[in-house]
Assembly symmetry: C2
Homo-oligomer: 334 residues x 2
DNA sequence: CTGAAAGCGCTTACAG
DNA sequence: CTGAAAGCGCTTACAG
């Protein structure tokens, strides 16, 4: 292992002081051109690389932002992270990411790790964790997707409740009176709100919610083949399905195709790859992961750069992208 | 801003030395139970958090691994990163990721940043960058997808050339004599090798490569609607398409569906979400991003833990997953 | 089992 | 424009 070249080494080789070398490194004006050039040449010759850790210790912050999401492998979050990372890297700041997979301890570990590392900022898709401890820590933080527990912070989210209503009304408009619903844990705030929107829309339309075709607290990884087959074979089957989450939509589409029951209407809260290529194409609510990513990182840097205004909420717009599956009319029973 | 609690503060409050507190922090045996408990209580009361930066400076490594890939938002790489991150986080090590988007300066910036940060290890999907400088740096590194320029290192990759042959032969077996091909930059080694496999298989089968239906050096983001429509309307159109990359496959499927020409056979080198749900389902070569991720991170930690064996190459297996689109027979011209 | 001193490689005042 | 000293918060030998 070759020894790292340090500032002292450069200083010695260039017959000047460590401080002057530091000035050259940081593009400080107060160095004569002659000295600067000499030092720069030596840095190159010696292959000097600044030690970020030492610098961070002295300056008090690490040029890193931490991102906590449920799952990096999920295309939605992958795009969101990409958007954040691009913005940060353009500014010379690195990005540390971690997935919680819905586990509380993991969420806590990740966030505490960021604090210990003195990150410049954090972007967090919070789950159940109690965030009261953030009051004692002055690290700029932006939450996405849902508000954190016990802490008032900046939040970027889609309007879940409105979206729930919007999608449901869309189906109702096409004559559907029996709409199946699939959701994961209602403890997740966004899930709860979408479900709430769904129920409200039914109520306004004077439709009743049928427990037989309403599934909540499901594991998103669960295969839905059997469930879909079962409800479509009921005596009084649903004529439409509302999937409030991409993972469910993919499972549902897959299940419907297997039993060739693509005559049932379907609307998905999230968009997903190929939703527009399959037959019929899947109607979705448009809310881009990239837009959430962009908005959250923009706000984060606003705070890093010193903005002191109080926590704000940024709501990302929603609208229906009609592609076919959501516009199938309810088949009237003869 | 509340001041950070330091070891000294804990030492003072617990009437012992900073060193003893450090021992408690690091679970060193040589502390009496009584002292340990007292110190731990005070750490809790004061809300002590270790300063990772200071620790890293002293120990010489930052408990971080750096990952460089072309694009985080690409589902293939998103899964790969997830696999790496899970393994690392289980061991209390953070993951910094960056996308190059095929840009050389970006690749260089990211890798140099990792070196400056003294990361414990790196996993890199290299592009054109000259990696000779790694000889002077002793950071365990594993490459994925393709070998780096000017440097001999560990490599985890799929057998691209073999895969190119395998997929082509599969189509030939079903009677296809005119096979269209779509590839991005041939400067990318894996692209080049897949193309090579394609050409070799054609040659062995005594089929000729037709420039009119062979597209290379394409931008993967390009919309292929017009191109697909054009080649399928040729006087002597291709009866099958070989897509060596997921991004192309998605564009191609989408284009074929738009003009309702799903009668043309298609095989995709990479798998993608929903490939098995659309009609007909898409035949793909199976090589899992997760497997590449697992293998690379396993090897990386083997090196971090001190394995000194010389660079190895790990080849991830490949086989055809028949789903329908690749088994469509060539229509015979009457 | 416990502690005082030195040092990791930088940057921050302070002086000249 | 240039430099000597102190210190960021830890851990590493070394001593007792």
């Amino acid at each position: 292992m070759n020894k790292r070249v340090r500032l002292v080494d450069v200083a010695e080789a260039s017959k000047t002081s460590i401080k002057t070398v530091s000035r050259v490194l940081n593009n400080d004006e107060r160095v004569s051109d002659e000295t600067r050039e000499r030092v720069q040449k030596i840095m190159n010759d010696l292959g000097y690389q600044v030690d970020i850790i030492a610098r961070s210790l002295r300056t008090g912050v690490d040029k890193v932002i931490g991102v906590v999401i449920p799952k990096i492998g999920d295309p939605f979050f992958a795009e969101l992270v990409e958007e954040i990372a691009e913005f940060a890297i353009e500014r010379g700041i690195s990005v540390i990411v971690g997935s919680t997979h819905g586990r509380l301890e993991r969420e806590n570990e990740l966030v505490q790790g960021f604090i210990q590392r003195r990150v410049m900022g954090m972007i967090i898709a919070p789950q159940e964790l109690n965030y009261a401890f953030l009051k004692k820590v002055s690290i700029p933080t932006v939450f996405i997707d849902r508000a954190p527990n016990k802490f008032k912070g900046d939040l970027v989210r889609v309007d879940d409740e409105f979206g729930g209503k919007l999608a449901t009304n869309h189906l109702i408009k096409f004559g559907h009176k029996r709409i199946a619903y699939f959701a994961d844990s209602l403890k997740i705030r966004s899930t709860e709100l979408r479900y709430k929107g769904f129920k409200e829309a039914l109520e306004v339309a004077k439709l009743k919610l049928d427990k037989e075709i309403t599934f909540v607290n499901l594991n998103p990884a669960k295969n839905l083949d059997a469930t879909i087959a079962k409800i479509l074979n009921l005596e009084n089957p649903p004529t439409a399905i509302f999937s409030p989450k991409a993972e469910f939509s993919i499972s549902i589409v897959s299940a419907m195709h297997k039993i060739k029951r693509t005559d049932v209407a379907l609307i998905s809260f999230d968009d997903f790859t190929l939703a527009s290529s399959i037959q019929p194409s899947i109607t979705v609510l448009d809310h881009s992961a990239r837009e959430i990513g962009r908005e959250s990182v923009r706000r984060l840097f606003e705070k890093i750069d010193g903005s002191e205004d109080k926590p704000k909420e940024y709501i990302i717009g929603l609208n229906v992208i009609e592609r076919g599956s959501g516009e199938l009319r309810a088949k009237v029973k003869l």
